[in-house]
């Protein structure tokens, strides 16, 4: 028996739900104007826009962007699966990225990560990428160097950046998730 095509979408959730607002369409159009030479350049900005709106990039996002930029879907999927920032399934309402690269590791990133994992009660589930809590509240993954090695260990909680996150600060940050 042969396997159907699904490489690059094994970890993909079902299509994203929700409306594509006219505001979003307008934003997308504006982003495309920044690339007067080739609108293909707008793939990354549109992927960011989509992920910020829908939380992840599933088949709907890929197809919407491909259509908008007159690309083939594969040309978008190639990027979704290349760039670690993008995800193909929903992460937690509070997504934590802990820098694991050497300076942060020297600063105790391993302990910070373990503390967060315990606080959020997360288990590795065999998926690529982050661990996600069952209630969808939390998710956690390692990230590579976040370029703030002097204040190790550093983390991102969604878009907020925190420095010198030891175990104590980690628990405060989790407690602060409202």
């Amino acid at each position: 028996m042969s396997t159907p095509l699904r490489a690059g979408t094994e970890n993909c959730a079902s299509p994203e739900k929700g409306e594509i607002s006219s505001e979003m369409e307008k934003q997308a159009d504006e982003l495309v104007t920044r690339y007067p030479v080739s609108k293909r350049s707008a793939v990354l900005p549109l992927l960011h826009l989509w992920q910020e709106t829908f939380g992840y990039i599933g088949p709907r996002g890929v197809e919407w962007i491909a259509k908008r930029l007159s690309l083939q879907e594969i040309q978008v999927l190639e990027l979704v699966t290349f760039y670690p920032w993008f995800r193909q399934r929903p992460y937690g309402k509070f997504h934590f990225r802990v820098c694991r690269t050497l300076p942060c590791a020297l600063g105790g990133a391993g302990k910070t990560f373990a503390a967060l994992q315990k606080l959020m009660n997360l288990k590795a589930d065999g998926h690529e990428g982050a661990m996600v809590s069952e209630d969808g509240r939390f998710s956690l993954e390692y990230s590579e160097c976040l370029a703030s090695c002097g204040t190790a260990p550093v983390i991102l909680r969604n878009d907020e950046f925190y420095e010198k996150v030891d175990e104590k600060k980690a628990s405060e940050l989790v407690a602060g998730c409202k």
Partner: protein, 562 residues
Amino acid sequence: MNPWNHDVAKDEKDLIDVQVDGVWMQMPRGLNVVEVAHRSKKFIPHYCYHPKLSVVGNCRMCLFEMGTPKMGPDRKPILGPDGKPEIAWMPRPQIGCATGVTPGMGIRTDSALVKDCRNGVMEFLLINHPLDCTICDQAGECKLQEYSVEYGTGESRFVENKVKKPKNVDLGERIVLDDERCILCSRCIRFSSEVGKEDVLGFVNRGSHSTLTAYPGKRFDHPYSLNTVDICPVGALTSKDFRFQMRVWFLKESKSLCTSCGTGCNITVGSREGKVHRLTPRENEAVNSQWMCDFGRLNFHYLDSKDRLTRPLLQAAGQQFPGTWADAIQRAAEGLKKVKPEEMAVVASARLTNEELFVLKRLLAELGVTRVDGVQNLGQADSFLRSGDGNPNSRGAELLGLSSGGRKFSGWGEEIVSGKIRGLFVLGGENVIPAGISASALAKLEVLIVSGILQNETTRAAHVVLPAAASAEKTGSMVNVHGRLQRMTRAVAGPGEAREDWMILRDLREACTGGNSLHSVEDVWKAMSMEVPAFTGMSWAKIGDLGVQLESSAQAVPSITS
């Protein structure tokens, strides 16, 4: 046709001195080092480089040691005792595929460094490669297998877990993909994008996990998709049609032509024990470069169709019975003479070779038959190779004066009904019913002789059926839509008693008129070159494996070497 032709220099006459493995020679400026090595009878192994695709330099198999002339204080090369520049070798190896030669360049294709580079790449490629050569279709044509014998170390030092990837992926209508075998050279992606003009394939994931795929729901069904199977250096892409058929080293290879349209792509017929297993493109820059369409490639299974005509058939009391060739030729000869020459019509199919058509021409001249024409067969033209002419030899039939491309033929149905035509001789397996002659008209004919390959409505109505050889089963020449005279050689014998048309016609001619001067292709060529203006000065040998462009053809070949 091709976006790139890296195997041809910008100016082949602009020669410069380069040194390859210690020997000075002249090579065209700018030609890449893989090609330079090739021309100097050296070999630089490579995977990702393909002369007809963009150069990406990702496999790193073609690393070589490069040197440039040592410069003196006067900024001129320092010359050695042999009067040639002294070479300063660079410590860092370079890729041959992306390096064009410059004056005085030194190239080492087999130094210790170069060997270590290849060794390294081989070891890297093999660590995550499955060891399944014994069940791999590519075995025998696999560059990984071939190079690992030449450049590998045998032992693996890899004790970690291999990266797992999808196997046996249904990539498209005609192609299966094994991602674990894929070495990520991107040739297939570049082919479909640059030659096929469709971005169907791509890599997903990253690093060692990079995986070739198509978007789910978008299959790789491009009309030229099977070329990727040819250019895939390993057994990652396999043809469903050829999978598990045959170890390739058992295949006999014969040079032939695809006859599924007027382009006449040059092909190699792979056969074993009288059975054709596959058709693959044979490089000819003037026609098809290294490509062919999937339709033409797969259009050979009819060769062993159960509808093949394998014995002569003779009609008696409204029914067809098998007969001997002697009887069939006899009956056909009688039939040809039964009606007056002006009541006879002949379908000189543009699927026949020039040689066959020429013998036919002789026969008709001797009989005094002048009502002769071909039948139009429309093909599905595309913007790449496929021609709108479904006949492979329309130009040949025209040059021999036997065809007006079906214009005359279109009136024949009425002429049969009105009784003007009483006899019809159909060649080349043409089915005249879909072409415009009704079944009731056929039934009215006093004489219907058909030479064909597969049974069809026309053969079933015939009084004499002569089983003929198909294209892979015969030797001869054709002229493609661009006026290129090309030849094909027999790969297998026809099934049963089927014979090549030129032999059928030769015997028929002997039986009809006693003419028998043409015994071989060479004989035919001797006569043709004298009688057919377009073939003046031509001979079977002169056509060669790649054919010749006929002067008489006004049509130029489209931009193939651009």
